[in-house]
């Protein structure tokens, strides 16, 4: 027994000595400058909550407010193309702001079932036209009573953009037969969306429903922990970008027959920008900062603390490099994506492959190092 204890203590000392020296050789570096002596997950959640998520939704809310202003301005001067163009660019800014925060759907957005009324991909143009002609009192309440196929960003896009860039077609709609109803519907749509953006922001803010406090306190590693849910959503979004945003229009599901109509932003032709914004939102959680914000603790720091590697490089660096590659490849696709899937399949395919590489690295390499449980909140042993 004494011998055993002796051997055990000896082994422990040896290992402690070894691991200490290896700590000195490789002080956990990474792309963060190693400013965090002792990492804490709660600190990361605090930073993500206060300095990434809330500012992201704040930006979303502000950009939506600007869109509302632009639409109101346009509504008073319907044949003014300049004002329509301002409304269009305001829409682009607003949807980008949404996409850039779209990985943070946990909590309020999920609990209040808001995703579909904000950004529903299978919006129906026929249903929108029907909703306009059938409406008697067209206001926010009317929009609220309707299903996801006729509202949100995608419906707004339909009422603001012409696929052939002929603004006269859009203006014609507002000044034509059903023009009054049409503009009422447009105004109701943005009122409804603004209500949602305010709802989300308020739900997160400490001065509102203070979900951020809950977010910070759920610092465990089970499936309902903040990190667990975030990681799940993050992987899901990476897969969505790969499969829905690029793969589906590319023809990946249809034996390489391109499906141009399946692109996101199909009328505004900003598909690539939207995909990049979605990837940005993933990156903001990893980096612990918004595009314009200051650097704080993020998932990269956590990986660095664990000295997580991919090959001989730190995993955080590999991931960060992969994001850069993905952005380059997506930007190399000639705009718009809906034409590129037919005319430039090689470029689209190259971007697809890189996004897939990124998605695998997030889903496999990253998750493997985080030790969060993604299938169960509890299980029954091992």
């Amino acid at each position: 027994m004494k011998k055993l204890i002796g051997i055990f203590l000896g082994a422990v000392l040896l290992i402690v000595a070894c691991s200490k020296s290896s700590d000195n050789v490789n002080p956990g570096g990474g792309n963060t400058g190693n400013t965090f002596e002792s990492f804490d997950r709660k600190g990361m959640l605090t930073n993500l909550g206060n300095n990434v998520i809330i500012p992201s939704f704040d930006n979303f809310d502000q950009k939506t407010a600007l869109l509302q202003t632009a639409i109101t301005t346009y509504s008073t001067d319907l044949s003014n193309e300049q004002k329509l163009i301002l409304a269009q660019s305001a829409w682009i800014e607003a949807i980008k702001a949404w996409k850039a925060s779209s990985v943070f759907i946990q909590g309020p957005i999920t609990d209040k079932f808001l995703v579909n009324s904000i950004d529903y991909q299978t919006v129906s143009y026929d249903n929108i036209e029907k909703a306009i002609t059938e409406g008697t009192t067209i206001d926010n309440a009317y929009v609220e009573s309707k299903g996801a196929t006729v509202k949100g960003f995608q419906a707004l896009e339909y009422l603001l953009f012409d696929q052939n860039k002929k603004n006269s077609n859009i203006i014609g709609g507002y000044t034509g037969a059903n023009g009054a109803k049409r503009i009422a519907y447009l105004k109701a749509l943005i009122t409804n969306l603004k209500e949602k953006s305010a709802l989300v922001l308020n739900a997160w803010k400490p001065s509102g429903e203070n979900y951020v406090a809950k977010f910070i306190s759920a610092d465990g590693r089970d499936i309902n922990s903040s990190l667990g849910v975030l990681v799940n959503n993050l992987i899901q979004l990476a897969y969505t970008v790969r499969d829905e945003r690029i793969g589906a229009p590319y023809g990946h599901r249809t034996n390489n027959v391109p499906q141009p109509n399946l692109v996101d932003g199909r009328l505004s032709d900003i598909s690539a920008d939207l995909a990049i914004a979605e990837l940005n939102s993933i990156e903001s959680a990893l980096q612990g900062k918004t595009a314009t914000g200051a650097k704080g603790l993020g998932i990269y720091d956590l990986l660095d603390k664990l000295e997580a590697k991919s090959g001989s490089d730190l995993l955080s660096k590999v991931l960060s490099d992969q994001f850069t590659t993905v952005y380059t490849k997506i930007k190399a696709i000639p705009v718009p994506l809906r034409l590129a899937v037919v005319n430039n399949p090689a470029q689209v395919g190259a971007a697809y492959d890189e996004v897939k590489r990124l998605q695998v690295k997030l889903e496999v390499d990253m998750v493997n190092n985080l030790g969060v449980l993604l299938t169960f909140s509890d299980n029954d042993g091992d």
């Binding site: 465990g220 664990l306 590999v318």
Partner: protein, 483 residues
């Protein structure tokens, strides 16, 4: 009861006597006094086991896992050779679990013991064989313990069987015969013998010992993995949270767990060390309970390890319970030679099973051939991203499929990194497309996996058409080598 309280069971565990025991394995039965004492230990274990199982099954039912695991899935990952076992449709599958609860109660009470333990063993093993996705080492342990208990006279003391029997006037009356059969108390049933305790101890101890042997792997010893990842994820733990993120702590705990597992059964066997190692067992399992989400496992180990204590201890604990009036022992002794042979083969089998992975080349954590039923407990953090590339032979058309479109979340996750399940699901897909009119297909897996913090790499050769590969024990050549 007092006639043997002055004697201590301890002498039996001294090494010299232990060797003698082995020598007399097939010859000398215990004295009647010893038999009485053993009966208390068996009763103690029976009650503990029964209660644990009642709790475990009620827990399982209350979390609605029956629905999640056995009702919702449209496909089940059967074990090789057991593909004839299917889940009963709802609501009957629920009844199986209610039945297991009732069996647990009967086992604890010692009522109709023989039929209760056999039903429990068969029912539990049936459920365990339904789907690989929910394979757990401790379920296997439950089956093995229940199997052993099927053959042992564990209802001689502190059981309603013994109480009722005392009231049945004649053993040759018809109700008496039926009762005797049901309760495993016919004249021919064996008397409790000390080796029976060692059978239980061997089974309980093997979880520790083989669990320790399984830890003798590079990742565990020299990378402190997966503990390093798991401990760091518990940073929110009060007081010691920040310690858990330290590399050296992961190393200390890895090596501690190794020595603990390898020595626990032996230290439990010796009187001098028994109490201290048991204290460590309790602390160790409580720690794992709080750090990892491993449900019933720690509790099962904490309570079943009590079988290593002497019969006097079991008897003292049992005194807190009312003992039904019993008729005492039959003095007619049934031979236990056959039983001894049975258990000899059983434990030989138990000895070989954990080492079968060595017949296969490479890291067992990667290829998972011989991984299950080998006490590979808490050895890996493994993740994967799995997709199938399906090629329709008729049209040459190709498309990708994610298993999550067909499987429940837990199944999809388990299937993603376990090669034999990846193959099984490929075969299922093949069959699915035949039945849905697509005809014959070639199915290849694109599976990237990460093991214990390593970077992701392909787990399955993406060029191999899995529809042409067979299940079985032959080495799976289509699994890649871990770099």
């Amino acid at each position: 009861m007092t006639d043997f309280s002055d004697r201590n069971m301890e002498y039996k565990t001294r090494p010299g006597i232990f060797a003698e025991k082995i020598k007399s394995w097939f010859s000398t039965p215990d004295s009647l006094t010893d038999s009485h004492k053993t009966a208390y230990s068996l009763a103690f274990f029976r009650i503990v086991f029964g209660i644990l199982m009642v709790v475990a099954e009620i827990r399982f039912i209350s979390r609605d896992w029956i629905t999640d695991f056995y009702v919702k899935p449209q496909f089940f990952f059967t074990f090789f050779g057991f593909d004839w076992i299917h889940p009963l449709p709802a609501p009957y599958i629920y009844w199986v679990f209610y039945g297991l609860v009732i069996c647990g109660v009967l086992i604890a009470l010692g009522l109709f013991y023989r039929i209760a333990i056999w039903s429990f063993f068969l029912g539990f093993t049936y459920v365990e064989l339904l789907d690989k996705s929910v394979y757990l080492n401790h379920y296997y342990q439950v089956s093995m313990l229940a199997f052993i208990m099927c053959f042992l006279p564990m209802n001689r003391k502190y059981s309603l069987d013994a109480g009722i029997k005392a009231h049945l006037s004649s053993e040759i009356s018809f109700p008496g015969k039926i009762f005797n059969f049901l309760t495993f108390s016919t004249i021919k049933s064996p008397l409790p013998e000390n080796w029976m305790l060692w059978a239980l101890r061997l089974q309980v101890g093997s979880v520790y010992f083989f669990g320790g042997v399984a830890k003798l792997k590079y990742d565990w010893l020299f990378r402190a993995q997966p503990l390093r990842i798991w401990l760091a994820a518990n940073e929110h733990f009060p007081l010691i949270g920040s310690l858990l993120t330290q590399t050296w702590v992961a190393f200390v705990l890895s090596w501690f767990a190794l020595f603990f597992d390898l020595t626990a059964p032996f230290l439990l066997s010796f009187r001098k060390t028994r109490f201290y190692i048991y204290l460590i067992i309790v602390i160790f399992h409580l720690l794992t309970h709080y750090l990892f989400y491993i449900g019933m496992f720690p509790w099962m180990m904490i309570f079943t390890a009590l079988i290593f204590f002497p019969s006097d201890f079991h008897q003292k604990v049992l005194r807190f319970l009312p003992e039904p009036q019993t008729s005492g022992f039959n003095t007619v002794r049934a031979s236990t030679v056959n039983l001894k042979w049975l258990f000899t083969f059983f434990f030989l089998f138990q000895l070989i099973m954990p080492f079968r992975s060595h017949f296969y080349e490479g890291n067992v954590l990667w290829h998972e051939q011989g991984f299950r039923f080998s006490w590979n407990i808490m050895l890996m953090e493994k993740n994967a991203s799995l997709e199938y590339r399906v090629k329709v032979k008729k049209s040459g058309e190709e498309f990708y499929v994610r298993p999550s479109e067909f499987l429940t979340r837990i199944q999809a996750r388990q299937c993603s990194f376990q090669p034999d399940m990846i193959l099984q699901f490929a075969h299922y897909l093949h069959q699915y497309y035949v039945e849905n009119g697509l005809g014959d297909t070639e199915i290849r897996a694109e599976c990237y996996a990460s093991l214990n913090g390593r970077g992701s790499q392909l787990l399955i050769d993406p060029n191999v058409d899995l529809t042409k590969e067979h299940e079985g024990f032959m080495p799976k050549t289509w699994i890649t080598k871990l770099n």
